[in-house]
């Protein structure tokens, strides 16, 4: 600690620069992480919120929700199975609407569910589903489009009028503004009303749930995670973003390691003298690790603050979701990897020969 702090004090500019680099790199990592999470959430948060112990989809769908079609009355059959607590029909699809009075077409997602059932999230503002016949509850994503309670949305084509009566959050689907509609209306809005619903969401004992495909023909049971993973583009998107983040962390570690390596190289004569007068290699090594640790923590904390500011600035316009867990994890990884990067410097320190102090005097 003695040496570490004094060295900082003496060479403020150099260490400020290293810290600035750490800030920039960690900000990048966090912002990317925020974008990745935001994109993922924007795509799939509705399915996360729906939850359920099991989601019954058609057997030919290959876990893709838009390809799944099930008859709505299977919900009753399934609910009747021993060990099943509850089962509700659920629909998810895309549709175009126009704001009443305007000509602009808006592509949205509509989620169908029984009004007042266990899937229904209610409303944080306004009234819940079912208060009026064609009332819909919209997700925050819709509010971001400038739509508010009381507005009328008209389907295009079709001309069906839907009145926005309430607002909820956490139900965006497929990265577009999303609305929750009563399941009956949802079915009417489908191109093929005979199609049925997308899925039956089930809560109950696992054994009973596993027996559903035997009880109801052409069905299979999926989890919300499996359906999320199979949303078009989801895995590709996440894989790409994760890859970028991994590279960033590695590059960050490389940069930090390089900085400290160069500084260590420049100090070789000094290190030789210190060893000659009795300083142990271990002490010098710990000093270096301490320095990386201190600057790392400071840089990462400032980086977190920076990403948080970014969130406030662009959070509304761009899918962005800072998750403390991800940030803590990436922050920790950055720190550890940075320290590993200084291994080369540590080896050099160990190899410094105190004899050089005498031989290379001056």
């Amino acid at each position: 600690m003695f040496l570490a702090l004094r060295e900082f004090r003496h060479s403020k500019l150099r260490y400020a620069l290293i810290t600035a680099v750490i800030v920039m790199v960690s900000s990048l990592v966090f912002i990317l992480s925020g974008l990745a999470n935001g994109l993922s959430a924007g795509n799939s948060e509705a399915l996360e919120s729906i939850g359920g112990d099991g989601i019954v989809v058609s057997s030919g769908s290959e876990y893709q929700l838009d390809r799944s079609a099930i008859a709505a009355d299977h919900a009753e059959t399934i609910a009747g199975i021993d060990g099943i607590e509850e089962a509700e029909p659920f629909g998810a699809s895309a549709i175009n609407v126009k704001r009443d009075g305007s000509d602009d077409v808006l592509g949205i997602s509509i989620l169908g569910m029984p009004a007042g059932g266990f899937l229904d999230p209610g409303a944080s503002e306004g009234e819940a589903l079912g208060a009026t016949e064609n009332g819909i509850v919209v997700d925050e994503s819709m509010i971001n489009e400038g739509i508010s309670v009381g507005d009328i949305l008209v389907t295009d084509p079709g001309g069906v009028e839907l009145e926005v009566i309430g607002v909820t959050d956490g139900y965006q689907y497929r990265l577009v503004p999303t609305a929750i509609v009563p399941i009956e209306i949802w079915q009417e809005l489908q191109q093929d009303p005979e199609r049925g619903v997308s899925a039956i969401v089930v809560n109950g004992e696992q054994e009973a749930i596993d027996s559903i495909p035997d009880e109801v023909e052409r069905t299979m049971v999926a989890t919300s995670s499996e359906l999320i993973d199979n949303l078009p583009g989801q895995t590709e998107q996440q894989a790409t973003l994760t890859l970028i983040q991994v590279f960033l962390v590695v590059i960050a570690a490389g940069i930090i390691a390089a900085f400290f390596f160069i500084i260590t190289l420049q100090k070789m004569p000094e290190l030789g003298v210190m060893k000659a007068i009795g300083t142990k290699s271990g002490y010098l090594a710990r000093t270096l690790l301490l320095q990386v640790g201190i600057l790392g923590v400071i840089g990462i904390v400032i980086g977190i603050a920076f990403s948080w500011v970014t969130d406030m600035l662009i959070g509304g316009a761009v899918p962005f979701a800072l998750e403390w867990q991800s940030m803590a994890m990436y922050g920790g990884i950055l720190l550890v990897v940075g320290m590993i990067g200084t291994l080369l410097s540590l080896f050099r320190i160990a190899r410094v020969d105190p004899l050089d102090a005498i031989n290379n005097a001056g």
Binding site: L3, H10, A276, I277, G278, L355, A357, I358, A361, G362
Partner: protein
């Protein structure tokens, strides 16, 4: 009977192998007692640095034995030797070689840190050393802000901070003008005498040997003790030696004054 601080017995050091073998030191025998400052004089390549390195536990001898204040330190491992240097030796290098990012005072406190000394005592000792070296007001400055002479004074302070048995100075006056250089060696001699330490001063500057108690010449790895220093000095300085010595004796002993308080 003053105690023997350093004893070298049949010390030889060889570097390299086969055809490239170099005999840096050949059969060196030396006994250095407390209160003695020894001048080690010789041309480049004579083995001065090697001898200093072995005496200072920076190097182990190929043959022979070495004792420090009665302890056999011939075959200690690297960690033990590092510890030995920290606790029982003081080094002063040609370029002072201070740590660039520590203030003058911190250079001394660092030694105390390494030794695990309690801060209160260490600070007192550091301040006392700085005062006696005339650096009391310069303690907060970094080496880059000091003159060569000031840096060398800090280096002496650093070498004395751990109250060593043995002080090893490798051409400490090389980068100083003759007046400053002489002051530095004087301070060193005073410490060695007053504190009953042993010291080895490797030097090119033969005008300084009158400040030392013994003179050893080294050439091609072998040493030869000079018996009559006065004659040696006179031979070199061409008759100006006696005046020089008288002038030195009149200079106040800074360390002595404070030590005898």
């Amino acid at each position: 009977m003053t105690k023997t601080i350093l004893q070298l017995e049949n010390i030889s050091k060889t570097f390299g192998k086969g055809e490239a073998e170099v005999n840096a030191l050949v059969d060196v025998n030396l006994e250095l007692k407390a209160g003695e400052l020894l001048a080690l004089v010789g041309p480049s390549g004579s083995g001065k640095s090697t001898m200093l390195s072995i005496a200072g536990a920076l190097l182990t001898p190929t043959e022979g034995k070495i004792w420090l204040d009665g302890d056999d330190i011939t075959n200690l491992g690297e960690a033990e030797r590092t510890n030995l240097r920290l606790n029982r030796m003081g080094f002063i290098f040609q370029g002072s070689n201070l740590v660039s990012f520590l203030s003058g005072r911190d250079q001394l406190l660092f030694i105390a840190r390494m030794m695990g000394s309690k801060n209160g005592e260490a600070e007192k000792r550091a301040d006392w050393l700085l005062e006696s070296l005339g650096m009391g007001k310069r303690g907060k400055h970094y080496p880059e802000e000091m003159s060569g002479g000031e840096r060398q004074r800090i280096a002496i302070g650093r070498a004395l901070m751990n109250d060593p048995d043995l002080i090893l100075a490798d051409e400490p006056t090389a980068s100083l003008d003759s007046q400053r250089g002489r002051q530095v060696v004087q301070l060193l001699a005073e410490q060695v005498h007053d504190q009953e330490k042993a010291g080895i001063l490797v030097t090119h500057d033969e005008r300084l040997i009158d400040l030392c108690d013994r003179v050893v010449r080294i050439a091609d790895g072998r040493i030869d003790e000079v018996k009559d220093i006065e004659a040696e000095q006179g031979h070199i300085l061409d008759g100006s030696a006696p005046d020089q010595r008288q002038a030195d004796q009149k200079e106040p002993s800074l360390i002595g004054k404070l030590l005898h308080r």
